[in-house]
Symmetry: D2
Subunit: 345 residues, 4 copies
């Protein structure tokens, strides 16, 4: 059994992680850390665990003291908070999987510019591996610290990688218009996230300024071999979970829909978690699962391609992918504990 | 492996059943029958199964011809439709678990009065066992045909049984006010169930006439040893899943909340799927699971008890309980394949 | 034109009040007070007013200084906060309409017991008139201070008054099971009211302890002439607006549904805002309006009556009724500015 | 008073039209036509009108016979159904406002290609005026038949017109990513529009093939003076009402956000129904109103502009705009009966 510690266990991504690892046949949760709920029973906070789990949350201080008891540490915290505990865990030879943003951007200047924080673990950053298994599987295998991708980047990169790998679209033409459920905004008690402020309404936010922009650009630049700058617009949608990422690009040549769909099927043919559909995906068919659904259309009138991807932001966009990375790190079958389809409706 | 056939696989209860059995370690789905979708790939109808399942739906006619290939037949059909196929399956010595209403009411007159249908399998009805394991486990073990309880009855009976077993409330005083998600109304394309007719609105329906009323009365009368007639009011609530059943009864004596809570904890102490909470349950904490959460309050001012139970109507209220019954019939651990907590949020 | 001041203008009831009075042909808003947003433009907080209204919020201090400029003061504040400003306004001969709870309960002991606050305006309380026009119209006409009813009481009292006035049900048998939209919980930024904590889930809360209980009892006791103690269970429902109140009572005699429906039609025949429907009401048909829809069913099997009423909690349950009271106080047609039906869907 | 007939009164746009005209101070509804509900009381279908309106629906045949009794005929029907009744009404000298698509596209070939229907009123089409008052007010004044714009076109054209009028973006670079509430899909009883198929999920649909594409292109080409071909992607969003249209264009030069915002404020400075906001609009702030909210951001990194507009699809996107057109046709103040802000929350 893999012995596990989780920091940030009571946020939405943390709660999803607890759910998956609780059901995972090879995982053994050793501690759940939550500063706000330290000392409280986890199943009093998340009552779905009543009768299933008897663990009290520990403080950050206690978490440090229990690092020796685990094999892998998951971090599900706001950016800027992962530096010290990561260093401590890595120093003890523990694997670290960070669901936050602190180890995703390789360019420190870019990190500090977008996140307005000084990076305090530069050495660790150099070793960190970006944990998108579909593109990076081999590197993840030997990693000490895995930087788990953001939710929007996961959906958007998987949608665009086949096109960029094959030089099919103009790299200066990319626009990503992505829609997220409200869990994406976190569990903080702020007026904007109240039920009555979100219900029955949609909005775009952080237009041109969202921090996932440089992450998407960094990875897609790596895939394409060219420096990519793109436009990214996120939206808050009245649903709890799900991301739909709609990606636009100008085709370098004429392509039929069937040619491109085949190219996607080939590109992802070995992938358990990426499925190419004929019809445009709907987020509900991925909800509660680690699946990414992709389809595309060619707009012959404008010679653009529109690629649409759907994921569950808390699973393939966070906790599920983190466990996928854990499975890789520990030599398990990659879909162990995360092989279930979405539950519909 | 238990070989399985499902009739009515594309309704909401059917789809939930497919989901559970697909993930069940001892189940092997042999056929999925859906008259409306015969010949179509199941994963084209429910795209969550893309990449997970490659089965085409069969017609009812084909289902009959494949009865030899299975061990157990699940029926998820409207009332009045289960008679013939049940008889055929039982005649071949197959186990039958009927998620519909045709074998729940023991009194044929009552069945025909409430359901406006002539019962066409009276012999089978006599053998049928009501599949509420928490009350009926021993009988289920040897059953040939299990009548899986309705969703409202499951929530309501589990909420009231401890009180009635112990003669704590006036049996003439019972009122059940229950709230269901819209999956409870089925998947038929009718105007009333359109998104824009249900969203952001609640209504009571079938007041005094809902067909689950005699089912609840029959079982609770059995538990209490007295003939019970009660008032039952169901509601349609703007959510996909979930039932919250709020049950009112006049106390025969004075009882404290803690006494009654302890009585409930004792009553259900061996039960994996029933948990007694201190705080009133919320449906979300059972959503996607086979759990039933129960709590209660004593209204000292009026000497009433208010018991509240929450379930997922498609799981503990339908498909999950059906699999629980299957596990019992086949000697498996009762929670095999249905031991996961709710996924929140 | 009636000159108006509003205290608590940025809560949900306050915002609804501003909406109605902005559109009211005889109202002239003089100030909007909100301590949290003092100095900010109202249309920056509620952007629906962009281009419609150019008013900056004032502090409580400023509100005091502007009392001379108004004819009527509306208060939309948490309980315990209305004493001083009410006294100041009444002393200046201004009409006061309090949407809060401070002047509803005539029995001070009861007020202090349920609200855990010392009442600091006992003289004013004696003069205060309970502002449910359908029962209390004549008294409201000459009132100096109107205590606007709570949302649950409005729906529940209108549902039960005809039965109690006519001695049709056993006064000891009343159970009210009511369901509210999330605006009922207010606009405070607390975790429990976040979108992802409320979406797709229903719960009962404050069972046996909700503060609207004594208010309902006080008014219904007055109607019936007997002391009434009842059971009241409120619920939080995943919708923004609306209350559905389902009321149960034991019939003192045998009554047919048509007899009782006719009795209700007669009782409310002069009322613009109460309509008796044949079918059970749905909250959506009252949403955005000051209407109350009522219907009922007789459960012959148990000799109970089930009365169902629906209102918009922010309008007939708060701001709309407050304006109805203002119309009465100032001799206007009672439906002036609030005569529109619900907007569906 | 303007005497009014409505064809298609029980669809969602029709119901919204009835609501507005019922409250309109100068409108007198003479008949409501609905083939499916002919003979039924309108307030039995839409119970929000209980106590407010006593009109029975008439059949299409009866509608023809009542054309003499009206001044203006509103049509709210599927495309291909407006030809005959329009001709009959115009022949009698009645004004016609068509909320459907039959008279919007000036190019018959394009109409027949996108709508797969033969146009049967070509003469009338030549006289028809496109009813977007903000761009076309003068022509509307004298029109006999007004083609009321589609919902997506209204939001998208208002968002892009200022840029195109002023030659600010590359006309070949336009991408529109628009999100609609489910009322946009109409009131037909189809499985795809059921509550449980739409709730908590988002999808794109009709990618590259939506029929509003040529309508947007026709109008924007007229504004810009150049032939515009663009990419348009509509989405179905889990909310009842609202459209958010997010429009992308490549800037021809460098522009600051403040310059462009000022240009928009100038462009729409006389318009009651279009407001330019600093922050990105949210659909809820326009819900239930005839307002269009617009804001924009400049993406300096890619030299693109992102313009976001929000409307209520049933009001500014359908019935409200139709009444705005009626007001213009009959010389009323343009905002008569539609001057209310959105009701929030």
């Amino acid at each position: 059994m893999i012995k596990i510690g989780i920091i940030g266990a009571t946020g939405y991504a943390g709660a999803q992680l607890v759910w998956i690892l609780h059901n995972h046949p090879k995982a053994d949760i050793k501690f759940l850390c939550s500063n706000s709920y330290a000392g409280e029973s986890y199943s009093d906070i998340y009552k779905n665990f009543s009768g299933h789990m008897y663990i009290n949350c520990v403080s950050m201080e206690e978490a440090y003291s229990q690092l020796d008891a685990i094999d892998v540490l998951f971090l599900a915290m706001p950016h800027g908070k992962s530096f010290d505990i990561s260093k401590a865990a890595v120093a003890k030879g523990k694997k670290v999987i960070d669901l936050g943003a602190d180890f995703r951007l390789k360019d420190i200047t870019e990190y500090e510019e977008w996140y307005k924080v000084t990076h305090q673990a530069v050495d660790l950053l150099k070793e960190a591996v970006y944990g998108l298994p579909e593109l990076n599987r081999e590197k993840i295998k030997g990693a000490g610290l895995v930087a788990n991708p953001g939710c929007y980047p996961t959906a958007s990169i998987l949608a665009l990688a086949p096109l960029l790998k094959n030089d099919i679209i103009d790299t200066s033409s990319i626009i990503i218009d992505a829609k997220s459920g409200v869990t994406g905004a976190g569990r903080s008690a702020v007026t904007n996230n109240l039920y009555c402020e979100c219900n029955d309404s949609i909005k775009a936010y952080a237009i041109t300024t969202h921090r996932h922009t440089p992450e998407i650009e960094q990875v897609l630049s790596g895939v394409s071999g060219k420096d990519i700058t793109l436009t990214f617009t996120p939206h808050l949608t009245p649903m709890s979970r799900g991301i739909l990422s709609v990606c636009y690009g100008k085709l370098n040549d004429e392509y039929s829909e069937s040619t491109l769909l085949q190219l996607y099927r080939d590109f992802y043919k070995e992938e358990y978690f990426v499925k190419i559909l004929d019809a445009p995906p709907e987020t509900r068919y991925t909800k509660g699962s680690n699946m990414c659904h992709i389809s595309l259309r060619v707009d012959k009138r404008t010679n653009r391609v529109i690629v649409v991807s759907a994921i569950d932001n808390l699973i393939k966009g966070a906790a599920g992918q983190a466990v996928q990375n854990m499975n890789i790190l520990f030599g398990l079958n990659e879909n162990t504990g995360i092989n279930f389809p979405a539950m519909v409706p």
